[in-house]
């Protein structure tokens, strides 16, 4: 490995695209040398989409139409090329690796084909990541690239939590089980939160809420290992999300298909793209719009959407506290988790039954960029607002893959 390498990392969220470049000497430096983020990619809402760049202590914001992730990636790559920012390899976050990928993989033609086969497993995310991979191969040909999978961290979920009680033939044929998502984020929080709280990472019982602008999930983590996740076989399940319905009665899907004679594709599209906050509130899929839209009057659909969002979050926190046999820390992370004090306040309301008490003042004033302890001094459970570092995890995986490949090459 040459002395110094620059690893560019793309992180596709469902309505955002993050890009960071890390310098890697012996290890990956935690602070990126360059970062960019595309906001509100493909979002229906009141505010316009925009790009944000940060490098060498300067920042820039560009309001620009971003109809899809590929366009956002092209804009960012053009910006990087125009400024001669060094890049030696590109890492991609890929949400669902199914049974094909249990760990990160260097992308070659065969891997691209397997990635394509993973598309139906996460119909919102996987095609988007694939489009960004294609864009990179076109705009920056010849650069080594690799994919990192969100499902990998959840490999420790025990059988009683991942097995769906349907006939074994179906489980085997469709590789049908709970996979769990947002694994990169949880991997980071699982080591960073206990370190910050002074908890032994190998003994801490944590419930972590990864609340993104598009998708959200909750995880139960014990001894640094995933025990459960609110998402399932696909990222459709679990919490109420921006446009995804989250948990529903499986019979409802059959009933809709039969009663309204809906095509399966249209039905799946409705549940993934037109449900969630957008479906309930009707006017926006963005929780910030929803909170601003609460009227408190009768037929206040924004208020209903917010109450549903919080109620389901609380239910998952409760169920994972029980699953873990108690909890030492509750962590809120990702965009909404860190920047939205109201969601944290409401999620922690009336949760004294499990020993949780928020410091409302500290919570309202929590930093938008750094980890903040927001539980009351006499709360048995520590509550943290903590930004996640998915990109750092992706870069570390890249450095590890490269080191392994070099070790292999030199052995040959």
């Amino acid at each position: 490995m040459k002395k110094e390498q620059y690893i560019l990392v793309f992180n596709c969220g469902s309505s955002s695209l993050g890009c960071k470049i890390f310098r890697c000497a012996e290890t990956v430096q935690a602070e990126p040398v360059f970062s960019a983020k595309a906001h509100r990619v493909g979002v229906e809402g009141k505010e316009a989409s925009f790009l944000q760049y940060q490098a060498d202590g300067t920042s820039a914001k560009v309001v620009v139409p971003l109809p899809d992730h590929r366009t956002a990636a092209r804009r960012i790559l053009e910006y990087i090329r125009a400024r001669n920012v060094p890049v030696d390899m590109i890492g991609h976050r890929f949400v669902h690796g199914g049974d094909f990928f249990k760990e990160s993989a260097i992308i070659d033609r065969g891997v691209v084909e397997l990635l394509r086969q993973c598309v139906p497993l996460a119909p919102i995310h996987n095609p988007v990541s694939l489009s960004v991979i294609h864009e990179c191969r076109k705009t920056m040909p010849g650069l080594p690239a690799y994919a990192v999978f969100d499902t990998a961290f959840h490999a420790t979920i025990p059988d009683y939590a991942y097995t769906y009680p349907v006939p074994q033939s179906i489980r085997e044929r469709f590789h049908y089980r709970k996979y769990g998502f947002h694994g990169l984020s949880y991997k980071y929080i699982a080591r960073a939160a206990p370190a910050l709280l002074g908890l032994p990472a190998d003994k801490a019982r944590m419930v972590v809420c990864h609340l993104g602008t598009g998708g959200s999930s909750v995880s139960a983590i014990r001894n640094g290992a995933s025990q459960d996740n609110s998402m399932g076989y696909s990222p459709l399940m679990g919490l109420l999300m921006s446009t995804r319905c989250g948990d529903i009665d499986p019979m409802l899907a059959i009933y809709l298909a039969v009663t309204y004679d809906m095509r399966p594709d249209d039905l799946l599209n409705m549940l993934t793209e037109k449900s969630g906050l957008l479906g309930v509130a009707g006017f926006s899929s963005d929780l910030r719009d929803i909170i601003r839209g609460v009227t408190g009057q009768e037929d206040d659909r924004a208020g209903l959407a917010l109450r549903m969002y919080v109620h389901r979050l609380k239910k998952y926190i409760g169920s994972f506290v029980a699953a873990l046999g108690g909890m030492d820390a509750l962590v809120f992370t990702d965009d909404i988790g860190v920047t939205n004090w109201l969601v944290r306040e409401k999620a922690c309301e009336a949760m004294q039954w499990c020993g949780l008490k928020l410091d409302r003042e500290a919570n309202r004033k929590a930093s938008l960029t750094d980890a903040t302890l927001v539980s009351a001094a006499d709360s048995r459970i520590k509550v943290l607002s903590m930004p996640t570092k998915e990109e750092l995890i992706i870069a570390e995986e890249g450095a590890r893959l490269m080191a392994r490949r070099e070790a292999h090459d030199s052995a040959v």
């Binding site: 097995t163 709970k178 039954w353």
Partner: protein
């Protein structure tokens, strides 16, 4: 004498209640089943009232126990679509027996009415609003049972248990969170398929499998059958399996998996409902017979020990009456009671008389 009908497709369960107790029966619900019952009833004596269990009363039937009127029948017809196999049996029974027993009192026992006033943020799914308005929301279920359990626990605690998690352990298990007599959460959704897995039903699963099955050529009716009658305990055990088969530990790998998944689902559901209630004054487990569920209750107590639950080692060595199985210093009391559906339904029928007397 009270005649009771409780549909369980493909069969109709029926019971005859006399002062001495109940006789429970079931017939295959195919052509002529009503006549079969009529023949069995011959010579049994005068039927004073007939009760019909309706498993899903939709948005139309909001009284748990009420005499059937012409208006009720019209509403019933509109409810059939929500749960076609069950509700059509209830409707058929009503029509038939109201005609043959014109002098008896006919009473509808609605299993969803208890949940009719669930707050919208608990009741609704996060699907497009137009669908919610069409009645595609959670209805809850087993409401007659949970209301009965609530009343018994009030008698038992002298009204001290204001917030309870009511846990029904059976071949169709489900939980309800109840505060001051009103439900605040349930594990049952639009249908009983949602929630905890049953003996043959899948419970909460990722519904995207439905679309994959459809794409692979399965019809919706086959998918429905797969998820409702070939899943649950039996699918995990790899052979027909009832609750009784998984209440005790087993070395059979399939039974052992079914048991672990079931225990985990119950634990998680209790946690979710405690969050909805901000803690409870009591956990109440019911199922029949109570002695059989004790090994399971002990294991549950261990899993929830962090809540301060301690189960008495000597608890329920003898079955029978409802009782507190937790120690005096258990910070969350746990009760176990036997659940007899026919006795519960008879009690519901009698509650109508009590109501009448009160209003007199």
């Amino acid at each position: 004498m009270i005649l009771l009908f409780d549909p369980a497709p493909p069969r109709m369960q029926w019971g005859l209640l006399r002062d001495g107790g109940a006789d429970a029966h079931a017939v295959e619900a195919k052509a002529g089943w009503q006549e079969k019952i009529a023949a069995d009833l011959d010579g049994c004596g005068q039927v004073q009232s007939v009760g019909y269990v309706l498993h899903n009363g939709g948005d139309l039937i909001k009284d748990a126990v009420a005499p059937i009127t012409a208006e009720t029948l019209a509403c019933l017809k509109d409810c059939v679509n929500l749960l076609p196999e069950h509700n059509s049996l209830t409707l058929a029974a009503c029509r038939h027996w109201m005609e043959c027993q014109p002098r008896a009192r006919h009473v509808l026992l609605c299993d969803t009415a208890f949940f009719a006033r669930l707050p919208p943020h608990v009741r609704d799914y996060a699907v497009p609003h137009a669908l919610t308005r069409k009645g595609l929301h959670r209805y809850g279920g087993f409401g007659l049972g949970h209301a009965w359990v609530w009343n018994r626990i009030q008698d038992l605690t002298g009204g001290a248990a204001r917030k309870i998690v009511s846990i029904h352990l059976g071949n169709h298990s489900n939980l309800a969170a109840i505060e001051d007599g009103h439900p605040v959460e349930t594990t049952v959704g639009f249908t009983h398929l949602e929630g905890v897995m049953s003996a043959e039903g899948c419970g909460d699963i990722d519904p995207t499998i439905i679309f994959q099955l459809k794409a692979a050529g399965f019809t919706y009716s086959v998918i429905n059958r797969l998820l409702s009658t070939q899943s649950g305990f039996s699918a995990l055990a790899g052979k027909p399996c009832r609750l009784g088969d998984i209440l005790v530990q087993s070395s059979h790998p399939g039974l052992s998996l079914a048991r672990r998944v079931f225990l985990y689902q119950i634990v998680k559901s209790i946690g979710a409902l405690l969050a909805a209630l901000d803690g409870a004054d009591a956990l109440v487990l019911h199922g029949a017979p109570s002695l059989d569920i004790m090994p399971f209750v002990r294991e549950l107590g261990l899993a929830l020990a962090f809540l301060g639950i301690r189960i008495r080692p000597e608890a329920l060595r003898s079955g029978g009456a409802p009782q507190r199985v937790s120690t005096a210093d258990s910070s969350l009391p746990v009760f176990v009671m036997a659940y007899d559906r026919w006795a519960m339904l008879a009690g519901s029928m009698r509650s109508l008389d009590n109501k009448k007397e009160q209003t007199k």
